[in-house]
Structures are given as C-alpha cells and as structure tokens.
C-alpha cells in the first residue's frame, strides 16, 4: 500500500513539474510556440498583397495599423505582440472566422505570423489597457 501511495505521489509530482516546464521561461513575447518575431521582416510582410484577397495588412489597417479602412476593422498599432500572433493563428486554423482575415492568414507561416505581430506591436499606439480608468 505504501508503495502505491508513493507511486501516486510521484506521478502527481512529475505531472506538475511537466506542466510547470511548459510555461514560458522569460514571461515571453511569443505565444503557442511561435518563433521570435522580427520587426523589419514584419514591416515588409505587412505590405505584401494576399493571394486570395489582393489586399495587404496595411491596405486595410493603415501603414502603422492605426488607420482602419473600415470602422469594423481593429487598430493594431501597439497591441500586444503575443495577442496579435494568437489572433493570426486562430484565423489560420479556422478557430476564428472573418471573410477577409481567414483567407489572409491561410498562407502564413509561423515565422511570418511572428514577424507581423512584432511589427504591428512596435508601432505607435492608440490602444491602452483599462488600468486607472476608474
């Protein structure tokens, strides 16, 4: 009986250790295993026209992501890099759906997503968290 209790404890402990190891060590900027984003490569990528839509990121969101062409489009400038990466991954996988963005994200590699996220996150921002609002 003692042996099985120890075995159970060892299992729980090692499972907890394995989970802890999955946390990003640096409190990091990339999400879900994306490579490190490169701002300069992202800036070039942001101007590339998507095959399906004929539009680039900056055609619709503005050169720094702060001039959405349509009021339903979000501002991207200064948004958190890992959130932007997560959003593009969701559009690519189909977990999130938008008539333009789903097609736009379809052909992007992990590196391209990371680069785009790094570029728009580096731009001037009109966005803020809600701290200090109340």
């Amino acid at each position: 009986m003692i042996n099985s209790k120890y075995l159970l404890f060892a299992c729980v402990f090692s499972a907890a250790a394995a989970l802890a190891a999955c946390q990003p060590a640096d409190g990091g900027s990339s999400s879900a295993g994306l490579p490190k984003g490169r701002i300069d490569a992202g800036e070039l990528q942001a101007a590339v026209k998507g095959e399906a839509t004929g539009q680039s990121c900056i055609d619709c969101h503005g050169p720094d992501g702060n001039q959405p062409l349509d009021p339903t489009y979000p501002k991207l400038g200064g948004q958190y890099e890992d959130y932007l990466g997560h959003a593009l991954q969701q559009y690519r996988s189909g977990a999130r759906d938008h008539s333009l963005m789903s097609n736009q994200a379809q052909g992007l590699s992990d590196q391209q997503i990371a680069d785009l996220a790094a570029f728009f996150a580096s731009q001037p921002s009109e966005l803020s968290d809600l701290s200090g609002v109340y």
């Binding site: 946390q23 879900a32 958190y80 959130y83 999130r96 966005l127 968290d129 809600l130």
Partner: protein, 114 residues
C-alpha cells in the same frame, strides 16, 4: 394678486431644463450611453485592467481594448455572445449582455484615451 405670476415663473423655470435638453438630444443620449458603458465595463477590469495580464492555455496577453474601434468591439462581443468566436470567459461575459449593453460598452471602451 402675485400668486399667478409666481406660479407662471415656477413653471417657466421648471420647463427650461427640458427645453434645453430637447434642443440637443444627441450629446445627452451619447453621454448616457458612455456612463452606462462605463458602469458595465467595471467587470472587464479583472483582466483588461491589469497591464500585461496573461490568458492561460494558450498563454498570451489579453488584448488592449481601450481606444479600440467601436464597431470592432461591438462585433467582437456579438461574436462571443453567439459563440462564433470562442473564449470561455468572454463567451460567458458576452451572453450576460443585451444588445444595448454591448453598444454602450463599445462606446465607452472606444472612448478610453489614456
């Protein structure tokens, strides 16, 4: 003999605020929407009010929503409400909001300018 005049004066002053409101109804309604949105948005603070607050599994920082496009925010909340955009906490929050609540929230959040 003064009484009717006093009464008329009281009535005149009582009517003035309504008349002033009627001349400019749009900003008053807008202000009411912002106030209502501000009150509703208190529930957002637990995550969106904390700088760098992280979502768990997958780990990413929850987005900055202050100053975001009003119609984008409206659509996002409606998608969460319908379940076409998935996030457990956001779906639960959005399902508790009426269409008017969502419009007021979006108006307030987009007006945040720090």
């Amino acid at each position: 003999m003064m009484r009717p005049l006093q009464l008329a004066a009281c009535l005149a002053f009582a009517v003035v605020p309504f008349a002033a409101g009627a001349q400019d109804p749009a900003p008053a309604a807008q202000q009411a929407a912002l106030e209502e949105g501000r009150s509703l948005a208190y529930t957002c603070m637990g995550c969106h009010g904390i700088p760098e607050y992280r979502n768990a599994y997958p780990a990413y920082r929850v987005p900055k929503i202050g100053g975001q496009s009003e119609e984008y925010l409206t659509n996002a909340l409606n998608e969460y409400k319908r379940g076409t955009r998935r996030h457990p906490t956001m779906e639960a929050q959005a399902k508790s909001f009426s269409d008017e609540d969502i419009a007021n929230l979006a108006a307030f959040l987009s007006s945040v300018n720090k």
